[in-house]
Subunit: 103 residues, 2 copies
Amino acid sequence: MAFMLLNRLTTRSGRRDDVFRNLIESGKRFDDNSACLLYFVAESTEAEDEIWVVDLWTSEAVHAAALEDPALQPYIAETTPLLEGMPQQIPVRARGGKGLPDG
Amino acid sequence: MAFMLLNRLTTRSGRRDDVFRNLIESGKRFDDNSACLLYFVAESTEAEDEIWVVDLWTSEAVHAAALEDPALQPYIAETTPLLEGMPQQIPVRARGGKGLPDG
């Protein structure tokens, strides 16, 4: 069963672009990982310091394993202090719709 | 610029499956609408009565127009009383990632 995660990040004032750069750059690690079906990085158009990451993986376990990738750790270490608090993670399970990849 | 919307719906107790059925059935109207790039219907795995809809459109205007489709109105009328309050809509703009369709 595919595992989808909605992540809401609040950045420190004025650091949104820095966080974007890290999220998009580090996410390139997932480009060649077939277990990562989708990884969207988006900005709220209403809340200035709010970022949403929507990602879809073939399972929760492969997602957890991907985050252990040593190459990701410098990005995580650099990004965490740019956030207000910890990301809010909302795990969801896709039930249907249009455009969902198989996995 | 593509327009993405994250929608958080809270259903009345025990009505989540009814709401799912309506969301997935009514969403079939978007299958042949090339302006609708993605439409995911997902359930929270932590909050029993919470549904998330993630949709991506080529523009905010075409999304608004799609919701005016007369064929959708019976679904909206049937679903609204099954919800606790109004859906929370979070408009976002995709900045990058993996698997985003062009539009």
